[in-house]
Amino acid sequence: MLPARDPEVVAGPAVPYSYCSRPRALPARPKYRATLHAAEPEKEPVRYANLMYDRRVVRGNTYALQVVPVSTQPNPLEIQKQREARRRALARKRAKEQMQPRTPEPVEGREHIHVQTELYLEEISDRVIEVDIECQTDAFLDRPPTPFFIPAKTGKDVATQIEEGELFDFDVEVKPILEVLIGKTVEQALLEVMEEEELAQLWAHQRAYAELRNAELAEVQRLEEQDRRYREEKERRRLQHMQMLQKQKETTEKIAARAFAQRYLADLIPSVFNNLRESGFFYDPIERDIETEFLPWLMTEVEETLERKVLGRTMLDSLICTVVEKRLDAFSRKPLSDQAEAPAEEPRPTDAAPEVAGETDAADQPVAEKEETDQLVAEEQPSRHISFQLEESDQAGTEDLETE
């Protein structure tokens, strides 16, 4: 397809295609050419051709059509191409002729003539001796057997003879086969040897690698071991150190505690003694004795004495009171009765006084009593008359109550 299109394509870009005309019906192409001397005036009616039967119309597949170039003027490019093609064809032909083996040119004085060999070829061999022999068969001999029917030769007889060395040269021919055979065998053997070598090398490599790996592993484990040992050592030392610190701390505390305790207890004995002394554990026995026994006794005695005195005074007071009351009564009632009561009243206080003396304790009290009564008497008379009355009335009341 493509080569046929080429001229079109080549012609195309050179001239842009355009066509315009009024559409018209084409007249039929006359079958026979008009003669030169045909009379013009006879104009035959124009026969319009059927498009379908027009020879000028291309029918069928136009894909592989040889197209008439657009310009009648042959394209210089195309001409050149055709010229070149022609030249190439010529050259090819010439080369082919040259390649063909030819008989060499005739020698001087000779001429080569093509000869056709005879019908029957004769073998070129030693000259055959021909002898004419006649023979006559006997009359009464058996009919000889018919000879084998050998049909007449038709066709050409051809014979060849293969001499030694003409077909092939064994040594030359056998070389490639031998080479292949031996080469393949040797190659196979080499391959196997190489494989084994490769395997051995791989093993060696693997062993080396295994060694290296083991060495590295051992190194790793050694370092691990070292590390473990160091760590344990460190741990132990650390514990030791901690214990040491602990002990130190305890010792300082102990020292501090001891110093403190010493200081604290330095005052202990004096203060204890002081305290004891203050609380009265150390005492002078005589002093204590005096304090515990004598003085209370003294105080009680003094109290008693004082009580007695007080009693005496109260007694006296009451006496005086009664006396005064009676006197008052007496003085208030009648002046007669005064004298009778007055001596009756006088023995009463004197009665009362020894009674009072009888009531109190023995020793030095009478002396004190006497003193007191003297005092009482002395005291009475001046001042406490009226006040005594009330007091005595009270005291009498209280004495009465007490005696009751």
């Binding site: 062993r207 060694e211 060495a215 051992a218 484990q221 050694r222 691990e224 071991e225």
Partner: protein, 339 residues
């Protein structure tokens, strides 16, 4: 029935013990069907053919896709020895490819193989142990083996099996115990391995030492190692074979991480042979020896002894491997450390 074979006499290059393999994609499915046939001969022939095909990884992948493992698992318990042997061989070849390993783990073939540990046929057992060894190289394989509680039986087998199989068992154990050592310790593996340390075969000694190394990477294993094995390991340091030396030094390295191990190593006079190992330029054990000496130098006695030998470590600083240089530097710093 029409047969592909034309004449009764077989062609010259065919192997009568193998089943004929179908062309292209049909090969494996046809073998799969033949495996399920009730006839013993067909099964055996199919197994032989499969064994050859399985060397190609693409076939392994295809076989797994088709679901060969479900047919192979019951064959493991077949009464015929050849069938079992071939099945284990096929599984071993499959286990050599990663796809195969993954599938074997997922299909729980490991637990099926535990029954074969006591198989009367030697080759079956050998193949079984080979499969275990292959599986143990993968972490998921180790997990599978641990789940199937194989470790006690493997340890037990160490005592009874032949040398080759013992090597395989030791390899398996070393990979498994690297991950999880408690089971191994529980079954008293250490005692058995201690005996193996004095075995006549070099490979067994080195592998046993390697297993002890792997046990030593776990802390529980370390204590067991310290108690029992350190003197034997120190003895192995003098062994003429470098592999054994390397493994023994590695095991010592892990055993001396713990203080008891260090004391027992010092008591067993480990320092002179270790110094010799460090002085050798090309020994494999150099790195492990330096590390072990570093560990021993953390003890005051060790440090005193090693202070005289610091020049050996100085030499190690010139080693081309960076790891050795680093290890030598740490060793020197540890020796010169003052508390």
């Amino acid at each position: 029935m029409a047969h592909a074979r034309i004449s009764a006499s077989l062609p010259p290059d065919i192997d009568p013990t193998k089943a004929p393999i179908a062309f292209g994609k049909r090969a494996l499915p046809k073998l799969n069907e033949e495996l399920q046939s009730p006839e013993l001969l067909t099964q055996q022939r199919a197994l032989m053919a499969l064994c050859d095909l399985v060397h190609d990884p693409e076939n392994v992948y295809q076989a797994i896709e088709i679901g060969f493992l479900d047919n192979l698992k019951p064959l493991l318990l077949h009464h015929d020895g050849t069938v079992r042997q071939k099945t284990t061989q096929i599984l071993y070849i499959m286990a050599m490819h990663n796809v195969g390993r993954q599938e074997l783990i997922q299909n729980g073939v490991i637990s099926a193989l535990t029954e074969l540990l006591d198989d009367p046929v030697d080759i079956c057992r050998k193949h079984t142990h080979q499969i275990f060894e292959m599986m143990a190289k993968l972490p998921e394989g180790v997990v599978g083996i641990l789940h199937a509680s194989l470790i006690p039986s493997l340890v037990f087998k160490l005592k009874t099996e032949s040398d080759e199989i013992q090597e395989l068992i030791l390899d398996t154990l070393s990979n498994c115990l690297r991950v999880e050592a408690s089971e191994g310790l529980a079954t008293g593996a250490v005692t058995i391995l201690k005996e193996k340390l004095t075995h006549s075969s070099v490979a067994i000694r080195s592998k046993a030492a390697w297993v002890l190394l792997e046990i030593g990477t776990h802390p529980a294993g370390k204590s067991v190692l310290c108690e029992e094995v350190v003197p034997a390991l120190v003895g192995l340091l003098e062994d003429p074979d470098p592999e054994v030396q390397a493994a023994a030094t590695g095991a010592l390295m892990f055993a001396t991480v713990k203080p008891q191990g260090r004391f027992s190593a010092l008591g067993a006079e480990a320092i002179p042979p270790l110094l010799k190992l460090v002085a050798e330029e090309t020994s494999k054990a150099r790195l492990s020896a330096i590390k072990t000496l570093t560990l021993l130098a953390e003890l005051p006695d060790g440090r005193k002894t090693l202070l005289d030998h610091t020049d050996t470590f100085q030499q190690c600083l010139n080693d081309p491997r960076e790891a050795v240089q680093r290890a030598a530097k740490t060793a020197i710093s540890v020796i010169k450390w003052k508390p």
